[in-house]
Symmetry: C2
Subunit: 161 residues, 2 copies
């Protein structure tokens, strides 16, 4: 990807580390996947995932701390707690689906359910990288650029217009 | 996502577990990211990532075992070993980029380099889920469907045609 590179040693920066903490740890991943499948309550997670209560409590607290899940008490019954995906959590969906599609593609496993568009029931596209105008890009077509250079480009094209 | 769900307890099935083993563990992720940035040799990984040799050797072996990296000796110098992404490894790129974009979006961190299309140097699109005809889909627009039902739909539309 050209000469400019990411900082390859950097890991602890809040974004990636917390994404990977959320997705990369087995139980956190399973809780997150269950949340995407509509589970909301402690007891549901516990029985559906078969996870020990103390582990579940710890993982839920961590996901809340990272702003991926939101913990709220139901107005109707203050003892009932709901764990819902925040906008930040919801935004992990493309990464979740990309990982899942990768698993389905590269694995001769049992057939699993397929994600379809509810409008026409046709399977969604494989998640791919696209240019601003929608061309699919592969690794060889990518370059790194400093964010500041992009801002300058933006300014000079505004001046030209 | 409707009544039909994924098997929420399933984890060990080859695809997802190996994707997460590759992406989710800190050093494996860093090695994989470095491979996407063009690193190929043991010594390069070692010096660029600042990773202990025994850990690096173990992680590389695991990635090779999972078919994500391929280990080959250079024809010119059989002692020179190259670790290159396989097609399977290369296919992790959308998931890697989706995670990175998520980190950049939800984090007020230092500005990091941006991925651009080499053709016009404009930033790539955010990774998103799309219908077969390219509409962007959110969680509420997704359903699960059994793979067998899709095959049947395919057959009946062929019959109708």
């Amino acid at each position: 990807m050209g000469k400019l590179r990411e900082d390859l040693r950097q890991y602890e920066g809040c974004g990636l580390a917390s994404a990977l903490e959320a997705m990369g740890e087995r139980w956190s991943f399973m809780i997150l996947r269950a949340a995407f499948n509509g589970l909301k309550h402690f007891e549901e997670f516990q029985s559906e995932l078969g996870i020990a209560r103390n582990i579940l409590a710890g993982r839920l607290a961590r996901l809340v701390e990272h702003g991926i899940l939101e913990r709220t008490a139901l107005d109707s019954d203050r003892r009932k707690i709901v764990y819902a995906l925040t906008a930040k959590g919801m935004d992990l969906l493309p990464a979740m689906v990309a990982l899942r599609q990768w698993g389905d593609k590269w694995c001769q496993g049992a057939s699993t359910p397929v994600l379809v568009d509810s409008r026409d029931e046709r399977p969604i596209r494989p998640v791919a990288l696209q240019s601003h105008d929608g061309r699919t890009l592969d690794l060889a077509e990518l370059r790194w650029k400093h964010a500041e250079e992009l801002l300058e480009l933006g300014r000079s094209s505004e001046n030209a217009a």
